[in-house]
């Protein structure tokens, strides 16, 4: 987009003409990336655009087919990550790679232990180094704490310490904010700014545009495997940046013409659920939720505050202590899960791999899962493969699942298409109530728009939806009401018309608790 002027600053990383081919897959082609030393440089692009492939190239996890890598002015070739580390590059992975049962110090030195001549670990020296790094990072925890006691934000800080300990001056952070609440995001960037002030360079991979615009110095946009723009936050706004990323008009979660219905589809009253072990505090405490027909009720909350338990209780997968659950006025709390599903309850699970799909099974078996009582797909006790396959094809068509056929195993699909298949299956039986947990997590913008459209369409036809999401924009855009869950309770009800992500964040961390009614 703009000519980058060198501003007198040294270049930390230069990638020219990087091309990486995988059979059948768009990876990277003709990538141009210039990162100035002492800056936070954002790499933005949708899921599958090739950001991670590019960073793996820079970190030596695989070699490019074409192109050159220059680090601090000298041409390099990384055979392994070890080479990249030696050149001062460190990577903080999206999924933390920490051993829970070791202390912070032990985790940080793991694999790079300072040893004395007899092979014993010199903990004193390690501690001294870690403490000086912690000071520069502004971290305040005790390095002898077990990692299992740390929160998500602190674990991330340990990951950063790990790469700093190995002498990294150029840090790659792969979607570091995906797991953080807004307040933790602030803290993370404060940390990163301190690092940059001390001469480090940060390459920041993200698709969250607000934080990119707020905190980063420069931005490179990747689309369909190649770099399409290089810009700065002062030159773009949110919308133009998003359009650069997608290359076309944006999906928009907001807007509805129909009205919320009068009748209550899902009613949860006074629900209490015991904790996981004797003496633990309640996992759910006095939950009251009502979802009307044609209504989407959003549940906001940091993961682990009872959303998962709420879904499992409604489905009958956990036995509740007290309270009632009803669908369309019919009491459910004493009937089996399978019967609840047959009465019109549907569930898009939190993790499609763990609870949504049979990865090795063909798509038609996946769309049949949980629908064995559907008379249109069976002949008495026998399954009708012909009917199931036809039904699967219609789900594939309706939800735009990109696949060669209904016979391929589910693992062969991309994440977005797997999710569309799960959403399609759950909507296919025309449910009365849908529990949708992170319906668009980890899917690309195109699939996200398709799933949002289907949710809105079903809502307009009277479906009641309980939407659990970590994507605050999705919650604000789709919901008719937003409830905040904290510590197993519903602590606030907000109007999406006036709610902002920052507001939600305040409630989600329990800093503030409002009127839940």
């Amino acid at each position: 987009m703009t000519e980058h002027s060198h501003l007198g600053k040294q270049l930390a990383v230069e990638l020219h003409g990087i091309t990486k081919r995988f059979p059948g897959v768009i990876a990277n082609h003709d990538v141009e990336l210039i990162v100035r030393a002492g800056t936070i440089h954002a790499i933005v692009g949708e899921n599958g655009a090739g950001k991670s492939t590019l960073m793996k190239t820079l970190y030596g996890m695989h070699q490019p087919d074409e192109g050159t890598i220059t680090v601090n002015g000298s041409l390099v070739q990384f055979k392994t990550p070890t080479d990249a580390i030696a050149a001062g590059i460190g990577m903080v992975h999206q999924h933390f790679m920490l051993a829970d049962n070791l202390t912070i110090t032990e985790n940080i030195i793991l694999g790079d232990e300072p040893a004395d001549s007899r092979g014993r670990i010199n903990f004193k020296e390690a501690r001294a180094r870690i403490e000086s790094l912690m000071t520069s990072l502004g971290a305040t925890f005790d390095p002898d704490t077990n990692v299992s006691e740390l929160g998500v934000g602190q674990r991330q800080r340990v990951e950063i310490l790990k790469v700093l300990y190995r002498g990294a001056k150029i840090l790659i952070l792969d979607e570091p904010t995906a797991v953080l609440v807004p307040q933790e995001v602030d803290e993370l960037f404060t940390t990163l700014k301190r690092l940059v002030a001390e001469g480090a360079t940060v390459i920041f991979i993200s698709h969250k545009l607000d934080e990119v615009l707020a905190y980063c110095d420069e931005i490179t946009v990747i689309r369909q495997g190649t770099t399409v723009a290089h810009t700065t936050p002062s030159q773009v706004d949110r919308r133009s940046l998003a359009e650069l990323m997608v290359g076309s008009d944006l999906p928009d979660p907001s807007g509805r013409e129909t009205k919320v219905g009068e009748d209550i589809r899902l009613q949860v009253t006074g629900l209490n659920l015991a904790g996981n072990f004797a003496g633990a505090k309640l996992a759910l405490e006095d939950i009251n939720v009502a979802v009307h027909s044609g209504e989407i009720v959003g549940i906001a909350g940091v993961e682990g505050n009872g959303q998962f338990e709420l879904c499992e209780s409604i489905l009958g997968l956990r036995s509740i202590m007290s309270g009632s659950i009803s669908v369309c006025g019919q009491e459910l709390s004493h009937i089996e899960t399978r019967d609840r599903i047959n009465m019109g309850l549907s569930y898009i699970p939190f993790d499609r791999h763990r609870e949504g799909l049979l990865l090795d099974a063909p798509l038609w078996e996946n769309t049949f899962l949980g629908r064995e009582e559907n008379a249109a797909l069976t002949n008495g006790p026998f399954i009708s493969r012909r009917k199931i396959e036809a039904d699967c094809r219609s789900i594939i068509d309706r939800f735009g699942v990109l696949t060669p056929s209904e016979q391929v195993p589910a693992f062969a699909l991309s994440g977005g298409n797997q999710q569309k298949l799960v959403v399609g299956r759950e909507m296919a039986s025309d449910p009365k109530v849908l529990l949708a947990a992170h319906p668009t997590r980890g899917v690309d913008v195109g699939a996200q728009a398709a799933i949002w459209d289907e949710l809105r369409h079903a809502r307009d036809n009277g479906l009641g939806v309980l939407l659990i999401s970590a994507d605050l924009e999705e919650l604000i855009g789709l919901s008719d009401r937003i409830l905040v869950m904290f510590d197993g309770r519903v602590t606030a009800q907000l109007d999406p018309a006036t709610a902002t992500p920052e507001m939600l964040g305040t409630y989600m961390t329990g800093e503030e608790q409002g009127d839940a009614r």
Partner: protein, 361 residues
């Protein structure tokens, strides 16, 4: 689109064939090391295929293998590894021998009675392992192995203390009281091939229909493939564990019936020995599919029957036992490697197919 299914089947069969071939090669090396001529050995071993008597013997040997492999496979389909088929079979053998000799029924009913007793006792014995897993979370591999020892000792003790009958013909072999002839499973074809062979075929057919064609079978496979995913659809994983252990045990009870009802007609100590364990190998080679199990059981049955011929050319017949072991090892290794390769192939193919119809997202 059927072609995709055929391709997967072809890949699967090819990897099993490869495993057998690799095992033959390794055994050839072993033969060479011991100074024998592998070509002559294999010519003798497979040359016996022309002999009807050998073939009938092979089918007889394949009969219990098919059933015990089906017992193991139904567990595998639910992600359960029932190593206890041997013990379940042994308990069922003694129970059936005793109960069968104690009643007097017309022929078809008497046989049916024996089969039902065998299935029930096998199921009960396997049920212990299922119950331990469901109620106490005991891994079924551990519990079925332990229950094998319990079964072997218990049966040996009960047989010795209560049910042995001294031989009237002066033979040293002690047996239980002989079953009345109405409980004998008849031989067919030249009075050589035992009719239990067709029971085994029926078991495989029913196994196929149950697991691949019914709603219950779908839930069983889904629960085995991803317990979490089927749990949220309301399939109770504990119930599935219990049912599949009971089914597996019921089949295990049938394993020894060819030997008991079709051959010896009384219980003796080494009756049908190892047939429960050998089923594991057959199920692995046959990839838990009825057709694969059928072919593998025939192969193993044949190797067992023809191995005697090797002794005629001064090669110990134990080479076929070694071969069986190597086949199982090779199958496990090659299947895993082939699966990884095939998964990648399918993924690439899917990606290619999509790129060629390039839909802009």
């Amino acid at each position: 689109m059927k072609s995709q299914r055929l391709q997967r089947m072809a890949v699967t069969s090819a990897s099993s064939l490869l495993a057998v071939f690799v095992a033959l090669c390794i055994c050839a090396v072993i033969l060479l090391i011991t100074g024998k001529d592998p070509i002559e050995a294999y010519r003798t071993l497979f040359g016996a295929a022309g002999d009807t008597k050998v073939l009938q013997g092979a089918l007889n040997r394949a009969t219990p293998l098919m059933i015990s492999a089906a017992a193991v496979a139904i567990g595998f389909k639910m992600n359960l590894f029932n190593i206890g088929v041997e013990g379940q079979m042994r308990v069922a053998l003694l129970a059936t021998a005793v109960a069968g000799a104690a009643v007097d029924l017309p022929a078809p009913l008497h046989i049916l009675f024996c089969l039902v007793v065998a299935m029930a006792t096998g199921a009960i014995w396997a049920g212990f392992a299922g119950w331990l897993k469901v109620k106490r979370g005991v891994n079924e591999v551990i519990s079925t192995i332990m229950l094998n020892f319990v079964a072997l000792s218990l049966v040996a003790w009960a047989f010795d203390s209560f049910f042995r009958v001294e031989s009237t013909t002066g033979s040293l072999l002690v047996k239980t009281k002989e079953l009345p002839t109405s409980a004998w499973f008849p031989d067919i074809v030249d009075r050589r091939l035992n009719g239990m062979f067709f029971v085994a075929i029926l078991v495989l057919v029913l196994f196929y229909v149950l697991v691949w064609k019914t709603k219950f079978g779908f839930q069983l496979r889904a629960s085995g493939a991803n317990a979490g995913a089927s749990r949220v659809t309301g399939v109770n994983p504990k119930r599935m564990v219990m049912i599949s252990m009971l089914l597996s045990g019921a089949l295990a009870g049938l394993v020894g019936m060819r030997a008991l009802l079709g051959d010896v007609h009384a219980y003796q100590n080494n009756l049908a020995e190892q047939q429960g364990f050998n089923g594991i190998a057959v199920a692995l080679l046959g990839r838990n599919h009825p057709l694969g199990i059928f072919i593998s059981a025939l192969l193993f049955g044949y190797l067992g029957e023809a191995s005697g011929r090797l002794q005629l050319i001064d090669i110990p017949k134990e080479i076929t036992t070694i071969m069986t072991g190597i086949i199982v090892l090779a199958v496990v290794i090659i299947n895993e490697a082939v699966k990884r390769w095939d998964d990648r192939r399918i993924q690439h193919k899917a990606a290619l197919a999509l790129n060629s119809v390039a839909v802009p997202a």
